[in-house]
């Protein structure tokens, strides 16, 4: 019987052939947790499980990114507690300023093809960009892996996203990610794996944008076959391949040739329309960043649009690089200086205002055009604020004019 990528990876880990709906207990290769939840994971492991030492520190990674750097005495104290814990236990820790967990694990090649990479964060589907089985879990599940080295997983059935063609000018990976949300809907991939086909030509950052948003259709993982030029220096294990006999529960076809810039309207990620339906909507904040679109390539796209110009006086442009490496790349050429001269506010690498905690929290009346992955009510601050999701090019065009703008119209 043929196997999907998810089935192959879980079979390899379980040491037997498993298929959709089987339950497996596996040792994940990597378990990531971040500052937002590590304090409660420590608590569950120590007070509830009564366990003082993690089973295998080499399996674990901690990234401090969600409030980076600390914004209150409380977050500062908890970060210190996590630093101390990591040091005592011998766990690798990437401190504030290094970047968003999902970016850091890909940069550091901790997430790699064929590996099981679990995280205390729903956007752990991002690791599918490099052909890993990346999935999010809650604190108790993560604490159990810390204590036992193992976890249970149900093998997901797989939805195949078959893509034809190439992006037209002004249309990018984010538009495809949003289109997939519209077609599959917010619950359409619940419990399932999503596999992306026809995209071997896609760059790594583009794959990261799309895989990060797999969870927005409810998916457990969103996996790219780890092949193509972007993966040339990240070789797949020889047992991992696209099996023509694999069984998919559903296939959706998307033709890039006819794809327009997309916008997700408040307050749902699948409330997606072609940009022209909402063009002209005034916004007060543009947010360029997050694990979905905070990389050098995203800042570069924005800089190409903003070069020699200034943002609208009616809004703020917040730029949060996904990592310090991406920031360094943007400052190695003229990307960063163009953004700053255009009036951008630079925030330290990390999650920034994505969760509304700091660095640009939205007020009651704010309307934000964001390159993030979620526009839930109140996600970035006040429950009456509004979030529209779009690509970096749309973000830059919007920053320039003050209202939602098609970059092709400039």
């Amino acid at each position: 019987m043929g196997q999907t990528l998810a089935e192959q990876i879980l079979s390899h880990a379980a040491g037997r052939a498993v298929y959709a709906n089987d339950l497996v207990v596996v040792q994940p290769d990597v378990v990531m947790s971040h500052d937002s939840l590590s304090p409660s994971i420590i608590k569950v492991m120590k007070s509830e499980l009564g366990c003082e030492r993690v089973k295998d520190p080499n399996q674990l990674v901690i990234v401090l990114d969600h409030v980076s750097p600390a914004s209150t005495v409380g977050t500062a104290n908890q970060q210190n507690e996590v630093r101390k814990f990591a040091q005592e236990q011998g766990i690798r820790l990437f401190d504030v300023g290094r970047g968003i967990c999902h970016q850091v694990l890909v940069e550091e090649r901790i997430a790699a093809p064929g590996k099981i990479v679990l995280g205390s964060d729903s956007h752990s589907t991002s690791y599918g960009a490099v052909g890993a089985f990346g999935s999010g879990m809650g604190s108790t599940d993560v604490a159990l892996v810390w204590a036992t080295g193992r976890t249970w997983l149900r093998v997901p059935e797989t939805i195949r996203v078959a893509v034809n063609g190439r992006f037209p000018v002004g249309v990018e990976a984010k538009d495809l990610a949003l289109k997939i949300c519209q077609v599959l809907t917010i619950a359409g991939g619940n419990y399932a794996a999503v596999e992306y086909h026809g995209l071997d030509w896609l760059s790594l950052p583009e794959r990261q944008t799309i895989a990060s948003m797999a969870v927005e259709v409810g998916a457990k993982v969103g996996i790219f076959p780890p092949f193509g030029e972007a993966m040339a220096d990240r070789p797949a294990p020889d047992w991992l391949f696209v099996d023509p006999q694999a069984n998919y529960v559903r296939t959706i076809q998307i033709d890039l040739g006819s794809l327009q810039p997309q916008v997700a309207l408040p307050h749902a990620v699948d409330n997606v329309v072609d940009l022209d339906k909402i063009a002209g909507k005034p916004v007060s904040v543009v947010f360029l960043g997050t694990c979905t679109n905070g990389r050098y390539e995203d800042m570069r796209l924005a800089a190409d649009i903003l070069r020699g110009k200034h943002i609208s006086p009616n809004l703020r442009l917040l730029v949060t690089p996904a990592s310090n490496r991406e920031l360094a790349r943007a400052s190695a050429d003229d990307t960063l200086i163009i953004l700053l001269e255009a009036g951008a506010t630079l925030i330290s690498p990390g999650c920034g205002p994505c969760m509304g905690r700091h660095n640009g929290t939205l007020g009651d009346e704010d309307v934000c055009l964001s390159t993030a992955n979620r526009n839930f009510k109140g996600r970035m601050g006040a429950p009456t604020s509004q979030i529209y999701l779009a690509s970096p090019a749309v973000a830059a065009a919007t920053a320039l004019t003050g209202c939602i703008t098609d970059p092709r119209s400039l």
């Binding site: 339950l23 207990v25 500052d35 937002s36 939840l37 304090p39 409660s40 569950v44 509830e48 499980l49 009564g50 969600h66 409030v67 209150t72 409380g74 977050t75 104290n77 908890q78 205390s120 964060d121 729903s122 999010g136 879990m137 809650g138 604190s139 108790t140 599940d141 159990l144 036992t148 193992r150 976890t151 249970w152 917010i186 619950a187 619940n190 419990y191 409810g218 457990k220 749902a268 969760m355 509304g356 905690r357 929290t361 979620r374 839930f376 009510k377 109140g378 996600r379 601050g381 429950p383």
Partner: protein, 166 residues
């Protein structure tokens, strides 16, 4: 008697507890006090222990934040009924021992504010003279709930449900 709190589809965990109200941001506060604090202030203020949530599709989508489930647990929500649950929420709730039931008949019949009695051992929900049969939990879920959550389960058996004895 337990009160029914009705919710629609795609209730995300940001609505249950906004990120700004996470334990990380308010280390000294009881996260139960943040349950639906902005999305459903009436629930936040008036839900009593044992009350039941009845939602439609995809309840608990979005962020993996277990503190959303923790908040409902602190408020002692008796059970949650829906047409379907989002994956991570389902797992978190099971882990913390909150019964989740995919019960279309209950969802279709219950009204906001109904007073009911939940009789889990006999798998029924009672409203006045009416009795609604409740579905059986999948085997692994039943085993975990029986122990009150995954932590007590693993502590008792030293393994995960369905895992071969070493």
């Amino acid at each position: 008697m337990a009160r029914i709190w009705k919710f629609g589809s795609d209730v995300d965990t940001d609505q249950m507890v906004p990120g700004r109200f996470a334990p990380y941001m308010r280390p000294d506060a009881d996260v139960g006090t943040a349950a639906f604090i902005e999305a459903r202030p009436d629930f936040n203020q008036n839900a009593r222990p044992g009350d039941l949530i009845v939602a439609e599709y995809n309840f608990g989508c979005g962020s993996s934040r277990e503190y959303a489930v923790e908040a409902l647990k602190r408020r002692q929500v008796g059970a949650i009924f829906a047409y379907s649950f989002a994956r991570i929420f389902f797992r978190n709730a099971l882990n913390l021992g909150i019964p989740l039931l995919v019960a279309p008949e209950v969802v279709a019949n219950m009204q906001e504010g109904d007073e009911v009695t939940l009789d889990l051992p006999n798998q029924q929900l009672i409203r006045g003279a009416q009795r609604f049969a409740l579905p059986e939990f999948p085997e692994f879920a039943r085993l975990i709930l029986q122990e009150g959550g995954i932590v007590p389960y693993v502590k008792k058996y030293g393994r995960f449900p369905g895992e071969e004895r070493a």
